[in-house]
Symmetry: C2
Subunit: 273 residues, 2 copies
């Protein structure tokens, strides 16, 4: 029994889709979230830089005495999970393996699509993980670099967003996919539009939601859940960028009343990028 | 990447329901199964004796170089999991927490039933675990001591079996349960009869099947899956009792062709019980 918070890190607001699922599945737990909005997107950045930024976020949360770290960002998971997991004493969870397991379980025709940032697609992490589980599965990956900026600027309901999503996903339409992994935690915020673009027959896999099942299992496995807490858990939010825009998106998405994030500065926060 | 087998132990043939799910979800993995049929059922035995027998089974499989141990028996999980998990270097998984998580997720009216052996019900393990996750859930537990002998004697299709199941479950009929945990790995072999007796509206939770999702996650988490094996996995079966009856049940249940188990003797195998 352990009432320390679970930490979530993301390049921006995308990891909130993982926190939303955590609040639903783990109502007794406490959460701390850090979004590196000032340096978002991570997708186009060099691997070494993403690893460095991810460590900076991890250290910020370790100072807050988290009991578990969730890398709620596919780009960061792809390049930094193994290293961080190996070096930390607390359990560290990424979003790629849970999404992979769910997709392999869901597909019937063994044609899985993966959409993500340039960094995630370049890492081929999903493709490799899927092939290891079932080498006969055909995996089609597509980078969607325009999606994260739509979400970070809170334009998800705009007609421009719809047009961009439909156009971007066009190359996947004739691939006979029955399952599509939303391989970026920002994408569930665009889920209805993505579902419309792909058609209702395609099962969308929300890697973040799947990740919380793994978090739940590991809390039990390591016996560190906050099971005897009779209060509802609390959540704290930090961002390296504008708190105003962050709070607006977090309030709408999490639907838990007013949210007041705090602005923080990380290592060499580079607002210009 | 690790091609060592995953070990499964049970008081008898019940753990085969867990192996069946493992063969489905983890086709590349290798399995070793040990059923302590000669000393089955464990349900009515004193706690100390179940702990001793479970250790004897664990040691038998550790000598076979297993990479993970699944205690595919609720009675043994209830009393021996914590101790064995703490002392072994390999991951050890029980069947109670996976069943609990699935039931808490499935119930809508927060009335969950648990059926199991006398030992499992007496331990109150499910009740405690469910209450820790949601204290507002009403849990009704019922020991069904006649079910294991029906399965072990391969009488599952008999009319007597049906009569016994219907009569035993009668006390649960007016409890307004929407979810029932099959809290003994033998019970999924009686699933159709149990479903008939409870009604089609009640969701039956197969703890064993849920356990394999945990095994799958932990194989990834500890990076010990046999992912690059391009062959289908193998399975070996050991029993302390009659190989003839064991093979008959295993062949029908697993539906994987002929099975030839080997008879082994454990510590103080007590054939008279």
């Amino acid at each position: 029994m352990n009432d320390q918070p679970i930490g979530f890190i993301d390049s921006g607001v995308g990891g909130l889709t993982v926190v939303k699922e955590a609040m639903k599945q783990l109502p007794n737990e406490n959460f701390i979230y850090l979004g590196d909005t000032a340096r978002c997107p991570y997708g186009p950045r060099p691997k070494e830089q993403v690893i460095q930024f991810t460590w900076e976020m991890a250290h910020f949360l370790l100072n807050k005495k988290i009991k578990m770290l969730v890398i709620a960002c596919n780009t960061a998971t792809a390049v930094a999970l193994d290293e961080i997991k190996e070096q930390l004493q607390i359990p560290v969870v990424g979003v790629i393996m849970p999404g992979t397991r769910a997709a392999v379980k869901a597909t019937k025709n063994h044609r899985i699509g993966v959409i993500g940032t340039k960094g995630t697609v370049k890492s081929a992490s999903y493709k490799r993980a899927i092939k290891e589980k079932n080498e006969n599965t055909k995996v089609t990956s597509l980078a969607c670099p325009k999606f994260v900026p739509i979400v970070e600027s809170n334009q998800i309901h705009s007609s421009v967003a719809k047009k961009i999503v439909f156009e971007t996903l066009l190359p996947l339409k004739n691939k006979h996919l029955d399952t599509l992994i939303l391989g970026c935690t920002h994408y569930p915020l665009l889920r209805p539009v993505i579902q419309d673009a792909m058609g209702q027959d395609v099962t969308l896999i929300d890697s973040g939601a799947e990740t919380i099942s793994e978090v739940s299992m590991l809390l039990d496995y390591f016996n560190i859940s906050n099971a005897e807490n009779k209060k509802m858990g609390y959540a704290e939010f930090y961002t390296t960028g504008s708190t105003h825009l962050f709070d607006q998106i977090a309030q709408e998405w999490l639907d838990k009343g007013e949210i007041q994030s705090k602005q923080v500065t990380l290592g060499g926060t580079d607002n210009a990028s």
